[in-house]
Amino acid sequence: MSDVVNTERSKKLALGPYGRVGKSLNELDDRLGVARGGRTFMDKIFPDHWSFMLGEIALYSFLILLVTGVFLTLYFIPSSAIVTYHGSYAPLDGQKMTQAFASTVNLSFAVRGGLLMRQMHHWACDIFVGAIVIHMARVFFTGAFRKPRELNWIVGSTLLILAIVNGFLGYSLPDDLVSGTGIRIAYSIILSVPFVGTYLAFWIFGGNFPGTIIIPRFFILHCLIVPLVIIGLVSAHLFLLVRQKHTQFPGNGRTEKNVVGSPMFPVFMAKTTGFLFIVGGITALLGAFAQVNPIWQFGPYDAARISYAVQPDWYMGFLDGALRIWPSWSFHSWGHTIPFEVLIPAVVLPGLIFNFVFVWPMIERRFTKDHEIHNLLDRPSNVPLRTAVGVTMLSFLGMLFIASSTDVLAKFFNVSLNTVLVAMRYLTVIVPILAFPITYRICHEIQTLHGGGRRKTPNVVARSAEGEYTATPSPRYVDDVPSHLEATPVPTYIHEESEESGESGVRVVDR
């Protein structure tokens, strides 16, 4: 080297083999000590089965809810003060309405991009709850809630409840005719609780229905309190997932003691970032092309007005369906009333369902006496009892959802509304009861079937000169020859040789 020490080359050499980036990271490590943990994190392996992406749909739609929600809070005014609307939407011009409703109409028509943000927010919520449900179903059917992940199951179930509640609070904020009816129903449900119902209702609503404080209270719950809890629980959910590592399906090289998949950096980060964009893109496209919650058509809420064909948003549909089909079982004696026709479908039933969901890991542990740690997942068909229980519960909830649209069904199928309701009462009991043994049976059949439930490999079927058929598995790529693949066996009902027919080449087929 020469005497001059400040050449470019020597500066470069001084930086080390990784240049400026390496120097910056070293500085970071000096202050935070992140080098070893960072390397572990970058090397972290994520199993990448497609069914593990369902939870990410929920996570990213929640991010979209946060971003669009912040935008909305900058324009929405959570007040029940009465104002007169003067704006671009003629059918409301000059009408009196609450400031909450007026600000939402303003947001939809007068704020640039406001309608898109509102619709994206609403669609993201529908997708959020839907993704949580199918993600929970995946976790349930594959047994991912077993030890050591019971705590994560409880966190997740709580998240489902909070998502549903926050959705209800959110779509009630604009104080329009449709959601206002939902608030009236919620008030009556709270009233129906014995002993304390009237007190709770008067305290939550600040008096008799409707009062003027409920919209501001819903706003604080929807934008501050519940999202904070959700963010906290989602962080706990992800922390547990990272700490306990993700589960994986059994298969090639996978054991209870390892994780097989792709590394965090760069593969998993790329896939998950791309998926975030895809979720955002689909939400934006829905927000662009599918109108949702057109509150300007509904008009402001007025306790004396009502529209027919009013259902809550889909994730509350099971409550509405239960309320419709439940018989009118009111208890009225000794100077007191217990409205069981409200209490059972709207308070007791969801309580039972969610409690059942919460304690399921404990129930299963008690029956299977399985206290082992499980990092490998089950194939649903290999656990017929659990799968049958899950399908029964889902079909029960599904029937309740369908029961909430009795009027739409009557209109669509052109039958009497009364007939549809009576039919739904029967079906809500019959379908889940039938689902159990059918599912159980199907699981057993899949188990006994050769290669049942698995992707079939195509076979190359060759016929030799003597007429013998052989089947060899056909790989996806020419140079990809997995030895563990098996050919699907040749059907046994084709006999190789037949006594009755002496001619060669004639086959007797046995049916």
Partner: protein, 310 residues
């Protein structure tokens, strides 16, 4: 890849020409070109979003450009990760979460032994503190609950209808005996409450003319429906929705929420659906000027059931 190369391998100590580090795609250049197209289309869409916003285009154009842009970028990034990055599979060992027995014992000992010494020797203090925390837990709920609203008292048991209240429509116009034809329905309130929240929520009443002569819905109510004007509370006894759906040939009031059906001619007794009680009937009379007025308040609490409802 042969079987050997399908076996998952650890990331550390991998030779740089290991086939598991190769891209998954068989034709990486083609895939790269497709991804470039995705990125270009996505970027153009997002630029379009900016342009649409600038010119204040319709909402669907904003959404379509934003959605298309995000979607194409997303597809490109995923394809990059899926087809052009190391195909794997890679493996990592799970470390048992549980610590060694010695560690566990030490942890438990630190709680039990040290805690035990506290509790066992100072039982009285522990008990008093527990009692204090218990009281705190109870009284801290007082402002969180009780300050939220008033006590219900008898608010739910009565409405604003009084003896002699004028029956008015939502614009405040008093209803006269000649107003409605048979088969008509109107939403009415006691005069003075038609614009208030409480009036709309609690006092709302449906007025139906079922005949031209006085009408008896039930025994004991012979004077309640003069000139055929029957008045029922509009608040459904199931969950409080306004029962505004009147079918005049079937003589049914149907609640639009959960389709409870009330028979108008016999005191709004529910014929079908989840509602448990008939809609309370408001007794009316016609005064000397021909205006409809109420004889008294409803004879029972209106609306859905609650514990104190006798």
């Amino acid at each position: 890849m042969t079987d050997e190369h399908r076996t998952p391998v650890s990331l550390s100590g991998l030779s740089s020409n290991d086939p598991r580090l190769q891209p998954a795609a068989r034709n990486p250049e083609l895939v790269e070109r497709v991804i470039s197209v995705c990125f270009i289309v996505g970027t153009l869409c997002l630029a379009g979003f900016g342009a649409c916003y600038w010119i204040d285009a319709q909402a669907w154009k904003l959404g379509a450009t934003l959605g298309g842009g995000l979607l194409f970028l997303g597809i490109g990034i995923v394809a990059w990760g899926k087809y052009l990055m190391p195909r794997g599979p890679f493996v990592e060992e799970r470390h048992t979460l549980a610590n060694s027995d010695a560690d566990r014992q030490a942890f438990t000992a630190s709680i039990v032994e040290r805690g035990g010494s506290v509790v066992q020797r100072r039982k009285l203090l522990g008990g008093l503190l527990g009692g204090g925390m218990g009281i705190f837990g109870v009284v801290v709920m007082f402002p969180l609950l009780r300050s939220l609203g008033p006590l219900p008292k008898r608010t739910l048991q009565r409405t604003d209808w009084r003896s002699g209240s004028y029956v008015v429509d939502q614009s405040g116009r008093r209803v006269e005996v000649g107003d409605l034809a048979v088969g008509s329905i109107e939403t009415v309130f006691p005069e003075g409450t038609e614009n208030s929240d409480r009036g709309q929520a609690v006092d709302q009443t449906v007025l139906i003319r079922v005949s031209n002569e006085a009408f008896t819905t039930m025994q004991g109510r012979e004077t309640w429906a003069p000139h055929g004007y029957v008045a029922y509370s509009k608040v459904c006894t199931h969950l409080g929705c306004p029962v505004g759906l009147y079918e005049q040939e079937l003589q049914l009031l149907v609640c639009p929420c959960h389709q409870s059906m009330f028979n108008v001619t016999n005191g709004a007794v529910p014929q079908f659906g989840p509602a448990p009680r008939p809609l309370p009937q408001l007794p009316l009379y016609v005064d000397s000027s021909g205006f409809l007025r109420s004889q008294s308040d409803y004879h029972e609490a209106v609306g859905p059931g609650f514990w104190e409802r006798s």
